[in-house]
Amino acid sequence: MPKTLFDKIWESHEVADNLIYIDLHMVHEVTSPQAFDGLRLAGRPVRRPDKTLATADHNVPTDGTPVASRIKDALSRTQVETLERNCAEFGVPVFSLGSDRQGIVHVVGPEQGLTQPGMTIVCGDSHTATHGAFGSLAFGIGTSEVEHVLATQCLVQKKPKSMRINFVGDLPFGVTAKDMILGAIGQMGVDGAVGHAVEFAGPAIEALSMEGRMTICNMTIEGGGRAGMIAPDQTTFDYVQGKPAAPTGEAWDAAVAAWSELYTDEGATFDREIDVDVTTLSPRVTWGTTPDMVVGVDGAVPTVDAAEDEAQRGQFQRALEYMGLEGGERIEDIKIDRVFLGSCTNGRLADLQAAADVIQGRKVADDVYAMVVPGSVQVKIEAEKLGLDKVFTQAGFDWRGAGCSMCLGMNPDVLQPGERCASTSNRNFQGRQGKGGRTHLVSPQMAAAAAIAGHFVDIREWSAADVPSPEPAAV
């Protein structure tokens, strides 16, 4: 019987009914302390510390704080130090402050070569679906489940339904992976994929770099789906090869042979399928407080009359009030105060390169504060080798240390009430980037251009008219 990619991975990891084996468990400081506590109370060890890796990311200041003991915020310091202590006690490897491998958990896994096709991967973080870009089954779990995986290396999980999102057509100039996923979420809604494991497919997906694929899978949860995945291909294999934990020699050949079987068979069926036409997409900008409140940069903020029903009318009204916007306002007329370039969605080298290409030789608008936060120390090191730090700082960007930073307001990088931010992160929820902060989700290119102009601009026209043709991305 023909099988989906999801079926193949699921079936090869079923230990018993509703119990699946986990190949890689990634851990961070916010959702793990209570799980380690639980183990300690019950006198249980970590079953497979060799399949577990911890990083400090959510609480990490991006000001170059060298070690956990120097974190100024007492609660953040306690959380990171608790992680270090727990990992030492239970034998789990940890990349914390001061390590040249520290970074956002979903950036570190792939760059260390730990994330590989066909694996099951979990983490106490909803953006774990990022790893699905490699053709793995990866999803976010809660702290009780973190404790369960630490103790048993398995997860109790009823098999989700399957869904395929087909991106139809070729991606137009100036439209990126971020715009594809925001377009898909805009089309299906923030609960469009609830209860489903999602496979992303189509020629526009196949044409994407691994970084682009990670951006897409990363935001699966913003459409309600717990897991998102893409079938591995030569692009995937080329990315994994040579990474620190990647197989070598004969083991590499055997791995590639096995990975090459990981695709959805002809004739396999999904519980749900939708098509997203990418040929009609323009660069996306969110206007509201959920990721499906999104329009093209060439469009306008909707009026409450555009709502489908009374409930949505109320939602639109609250969103417009919170965002300080009027229905009918043109997106390009929206002025911004801050720019955040980074996060597990868009904090990789290729994202920084794409933004650097846009700003080369230009200056950040006078009343804008723009920051770049590499997703990991390794991304920072690689970017500096390429001189990207100079491109950013000469343009007036603040070049920061690695971490989750202003994606979620758990560390010193936060918006002030009322501040408006063009952000490459994943959530525009109320208060997500700081209490009262106003978030517009965009691609790295769009964020970079907005930093220069001081308001949103259509990167398609901007590129053609004002910027020397960018070098093709090297990664």
Partner: protein
Amino acid sequence: MDPVNIVEGRVSDLPRDDVDTDQIIPARFMKRVERTGFGEYLFHDAKQAPDWNVEIGNPILTAGANFGSGSSREHAPWALEDAGFRCIIATSLADIFYSNSTKIGLLPVELPEDQVRKIAAAGEAKVDLEAQTVTAGGDVFPFEINPDTKYRLLNGLDDIGLTLRQVEMVAQFEERQDAAGVRKPSSLDLPPEPIATTPVG
């Protein structure tokens, strides 16, 4: 986890869709390393809105579609539970939130919108997990729940204890994976970290 069966009492109502986990508990309040004490931060920022009128302290909360969307933070159900809620009745619940709630004995119930509205209007309700019904205002609304989840909630069972009973099967799976030459990467294969030292000064 304590066993869950009957939840009975007054109903608080939050008739909105897409109430995300950042609204339930903003990230800046997630820095505690304990499981308790999150109740005081429940809806911390959301409740400052002028039109906010959700009573805290009742056992039952009714809500719209996609309640608990966003982050995987178990801090969201912890905060609801710490503030006294024992059951969330919503048009739909986000996947991870639903799962997290069942791990701590916060009973998740999904019902059609018109029924959720009737329960909210009644102001009081009785949720019976064994019978899988919600009784409110003279009506009885049956709800669905996974039988394994129900069994675990009714008996207050620890998932880990249950899985450890199957530990032989886990070990056999690991042996099969090894025998098949499926070599998954090991984090311990990475070069070890240099010993971190606090710089002087």
